[in-house]
């Protein structure tokens, strides 16, 4: 192995290792290595700092940077599980799934799957927390994914049951068991309007968060997370709308997608035509159909 690769692996192992609860570099790592000896073996001390202390600067910087980014991306999840559980969850997730992307934007890309495999990290709000994480990740994706050119009027008129309609790459569809859209909008509004420098205000906000989370009752909702004029919106969908859009996203021809959408539907046959007309008209106005 090259000397460069060896040093980089050893330094990365120390830098990316979780901090102690006091947010310092641990003396002993989970692999049994002693950080003091490890640091001394490749880092020079100076007249003010030991090798350990110099390495610790990078260890702390790594985690503080990741914590900031992760917390910015998932404020709703934090509100649901509370500070202590969120910190533990964040540390465990980032340890198991360190960034594999050149951009911090993708830090939460594996969170949904990870939370699904670790329900204990969010108990007793496991389903609510998972729904919130899915919504917050969909928000990130909707914010900066591509927007394709729209179908023109002639192309819209020419649509038939064999058409394979393409939808905007930024559109995300979610089937959720809790109305987390309302909760997240409330949280964002509250954070935006509060005086963050006031401790009293901060404590009051935390109490409100707890009360609100405790009061959220399960409710099946279907949601389109989309972008309009470069702002992200959450649009509630009916079950049939969700199934239709989901089918189209999966590449099914319109006729098949419609059959799937209305399977088990409570919408009477005679109302389906106007239902579809209304839905397609809205989606066309929102610019969801693309070439």
């Amino acid at each position: 192995m090259s000397q460069l690769l060896d040093i980089q692996r050893r330094m990365a192992a120390a830098v990316m290792h979780p901090l102690t609860k006091a947010e310092t570099m641990p003396r002993r790592r989970s692999d049994g290595k002693l950080n003091n000896a490890e640091a001394e073996s490749f880092i020079k001390p100076n007249d003010r700092l030991t090798s350990f202390e110099r390495l610790e600067i990078y260890n702390r910087q790594y985690w503080f940077r990741l914590y900031d980014s992760f917390e910015d991306d998932f404020p709703g999840l934090l509100a649901i599980v509370g500070r202590a559980k969120f910190d533990a969850l964040m540390r465990a997730y980032l340890t198991e799934r360190p960034s594999e992307s050149f951009t911090l934007r993708n830090l939460g890309s594996h969170l949904e799957a990870w939370l699904g495999a670790h329900p204990e990290m969010t108990a007793p709000h496991t389903v609510l927390a998972l729904d919130m994480a899915r919504l917050e990740w969909a928000h990130i994706e909707a914010f900066d994914s591509a927007a394709d050119p729209l179908l023109n009027e002639d192309e819209l008129i020419a649509i038939n049951e064999n058409s394979q309609l393409r939808l905007q790459p930024y559109l995300r569809l979610l089937s959720l068991q809790y109305p987390v859209d309302d909760l997240l909008i409330d949280l964002r509004n509250e954070d935006g309007s509060s005086d963050s420098s006031s401790n009293n205000a901060s404590i009051a906000r935390r109490r409100k968060h707890v009360r609100r989370v405790a009061a959220v009752a399960p409710e099946q909702i279907w949601l389109a997370v989309h972008r309009h004029q470069n702002s992200v919106y959450y649009k509630r969908l009916q079950r049939e709308e969700y199934r239709l859009l989901e089918s189209l996203l999966n590449g099914r021809p319109l006729g098949e997608a419609l059959d799937y959408a209305f399977t088990g539907s409570e919408i009477p046959e005679e109302e389906r035509s106007s239902f579809l007309q209304q839905a397609f008209s809205t989606w066309a106005v929102l610019g969801w159909f693309t070439k």
Partner: protein, 295 residues
């Protein structure tokens, strides 16, 4: 000297970093700014508001790209997806040069998102220079590398940081983004004379200069970019442009960002130093001596 092949033969003046809190001010007030530096990674996306804002900025301003995660010094090969997206952005911005750091930050495909210091070895020179050449070839714009602030040094180092920088840029045949704040921070953390560093740098390769503020702690200095430029850094800047000529200069302010005007005013202080090294200023300075000689 300031217009050279490493900065696309441009003569840019004083710029500032384009930051989100200033978007509204810039778009509505349209202040006179010579150029903006963007963090490439913030715009290496497929759509949405950041790119819309960037396009509006590009309609009115000159923009130069600055990257934070190419990690020329990582032993890992270059990330192809990163390169592809970087080139797309280069085509969009028409940046005359492209900068990133002389550091490493990823290993075995895992990213630290930090600018980690290099061991100053001949092996590292070779690996780093080769990757800079690859980026330069792929993006088809001049690449310049920035010296980083550091808090650690390695036992295996075989040369000083300024020697390492010189070896790398000569082996890669690339330019330098000389960050005088980083030189100052590292000089305090590693007890060397920052002027020795500035005096050693191959001046003909300097394409751009960074200035910034830092924070002093009990046992070390941290490169925080959350303060005005300190007097010691201005002195180093003065020496750098004395050697390099009036070079494109950019103020970095990334945390606790004040108003646009405050950031811009701080950056424009560089003009006092730049004007002192313009050919006219040099001629004016020499005039009294000539007059004295004639008498």
């Amino acid at each position: 000297m300031p217009a050279n092949r490493f900065n696309g033969f441009t003569e840019y003046g004083v710029g500032i970093g384009l930051r989100v809190p200033h978007y509204q001010h810039i778009l509505s007030r349209k202040p006179v700014v010579d150029w903006f530096e963007i963090i490439s990674e913030n715009y290496m996306i497929d759509g949405g508001r950041p790119l819309e804002i960037l396009d509006r900025i590009l309609e009115q301003y000159r923009v130069v790209q600055h990257g934070v995660s190419m990690y020329f010094g990582s032993a890992d090969p270059l990330n192809r997806e990163h390169l592809k997206r970087l080139k797309q952005l280069v085509r969009r911005t028409k940046t005359p040069w492209l900068s990133d750091h002389l550091c490493w930050g990823s290993v075995d495909g895992r990213y630290t998102h930090d600018l980690l210091p290099m061991p100053y070895t001949w092996e590292a020179v070779k690996v780093t220079a080769e990757k800079i050449r690859q980026v330069q070839d792929f993006t088809e714009v001049p690449v310049v590398v920035e010296n980083v602030s550091s808090y650690a040094e390695f036992h295996v180092s075989e040369m000083t940081e300024w020697e390492f920088l010189t070896e790398v840029v000569e082996a890669a045949d690339c330019g330098i983004l000389l960050d005088v704040n980083n030189i100052y921070v590292s000089s305090q953390n590693h007890s060397f004379d920052p002027f020795t560093y500035v005096n050693h740098v191959p001046a003909e390769r300097v394409a751009q200069i960074h200035i910034a503020g830092h924070s002093k702690f009990e046992k070390y200095i941290l490169d925080t970019h959350d303060h005005p430029v300190l007097p010691a850094v201005w002195k180093l800047y003065a020496r750098a442009i004395e050697r390099c000529g009036p070079t494109a200069t950019l103020l970095e302010w990334d945390d606790r960002i004040p108003s646009f005007d405050e950031v811009h005013d701080e950056a424009l202080k560089a003009n006092e130093f730049l004007q002192a090294v313009t050919p006219k200023a040099k001629a004016d300075a020499a005039q009294p001596e000539l007059q004295g000689a004639a008498r």
